[in-house]
């Protein structure tokens, strides 16, 4: 797998753009998922994931071919998402209470476009709840938790991706886990 990626990268370095398409195809789900879990919004996640691939392409000559490509790519994506969170404080959250209503949130204002069986709705609701709780985590805990438990990366790799010491990664994972324990205990 890594050998195939390296071969494609060498082709891209020679100027062969279509070889890059294969790289995108291989990593698109992982990168999109990473962005979605950090940002909690499909539309933004798609924007950031695309941007990550484009930046990786433009800067591919600065990539050290002896390192793992996915680490480098995830680093670009994670940084883009973190920047996005820091820059843009959204005007409203979907789960903020709508003023003048009693406990109604914006979620209840969104019409569901299809009728689903009850257990699927329950599952979807659970998924939404979990995602909402992930999104509530402070950004520095959120990225480590997503990298560890959704992308299933090792602590060492996370430390490389985020460019922070291993000890810091551990501390953040511990705190992130504590926060999630607290938030999800009654789910």
């Amino acid at each position: 797998m890594e050998a195939l990626i390296k071969k494609r990268i060498k082709q891209v370095l020679k100027g062969d753009q279509s070889a890059y398409g294969e790289i995108v195809e291989i990593y698109k789900d992982k990168v999109f998922q990473l962005c979605y879990r950090i940002l909690g919004n499909r539309h933004e996640a798609e924007d950031m994931a695309q941007e990550a691939f484009i930046r990786a392409y433009i800067n591919i000559s600065s990539f050290n071919i002896d390192l793992k490509f996915s680490t480098w790519l995830y680093r670009i994506a994670t940084n883009l998402c973190i920047d996005r969170i820091r820059k843009k404080k959204p005007d409203y959250y979907l789960d903020a209470e709508v003023s003048g209503t009693d406990g109604l949130t914006m979620y209840s204002q969104i019409a569901s476009d299809s009728i689903l069986p009850e257990d699927e709705i329950e599952n979807l609701e659970l998924q939404e709840t979990i995602q909402r709780e992930i999104t509530k985590l402070p950004e520095k805990y959120r990225s480590v938790i997503v990298l560890k438990y959704i992308e299933e990366l090792s602590l060492n790799e996370i430390s490389e991706i985020l460019d922070i010491p291993l000890g810091t990664v551990k501390t953040r994972i511990h705190r992130g886990r504590e926060a999630l324990r607290h938030q999800l205990r009654n789910v």
């Binding site: 995108v24 698109k28 999109f32 484009i54 999630l180 999800l184 205990r185």
Partner: protein, 206 residues
Amino acid sequence: MKCPDNIVLYMHEYLDEEIDEHDEELLKKHLQTCPKCQSYFHELEKAIALVQSTSHIQAPSNFTENVMARLPKEKRRVSVNRWFRHHPLLTAASLFIILMTGSLLSTWNKDHEFSVTKQPNLVVHNNTVIVPEGEVIKGDITVRNGDLQIEGKVEGDVTVINGENYLASAGNVTGEIKEVNEVFEWIWYHVKKTSKELVSVFQDKD
């Protein structure tokens, strides 16, 4: 009962698979006896399981196309090279056809002069080659841009290119008689000749 110091840290170290044996022993023993820590640990495990349970989502359709469309344009040369690389058979075939037709057409164009295989006893008269009556030609005869009239006997193949072949009733040819008049026939003739030669080469080897 008092919980050991650092028991929560041990839980995290355990979850990260970074706990040393001694601490693990301590953690396990304590969890068996302390319901409070047990439920705390259980909540941590539950939180992890829930996060991991979020079904794997996929990138939207057309994701790759959208990325590719937004990349800076590549150089033309590269795309041409890539086409050749990706279609080696087509490249080889087209190269072969180009060279083949080129060389055949040049031979065709070059050969608009009258010529005939040198054989004794042949009579040449105004671009007509005559095998006189009663004569026997031993070997093949090829006539280009001229006619051939056979009144005698030819012990071999006869080929007439861009001309006509008259075989008199008394004439006799032991080999094949071929007439070639059009460019395509000329090419076909060459191809057949080449393959015959190839076959004979292989047969010689055997």
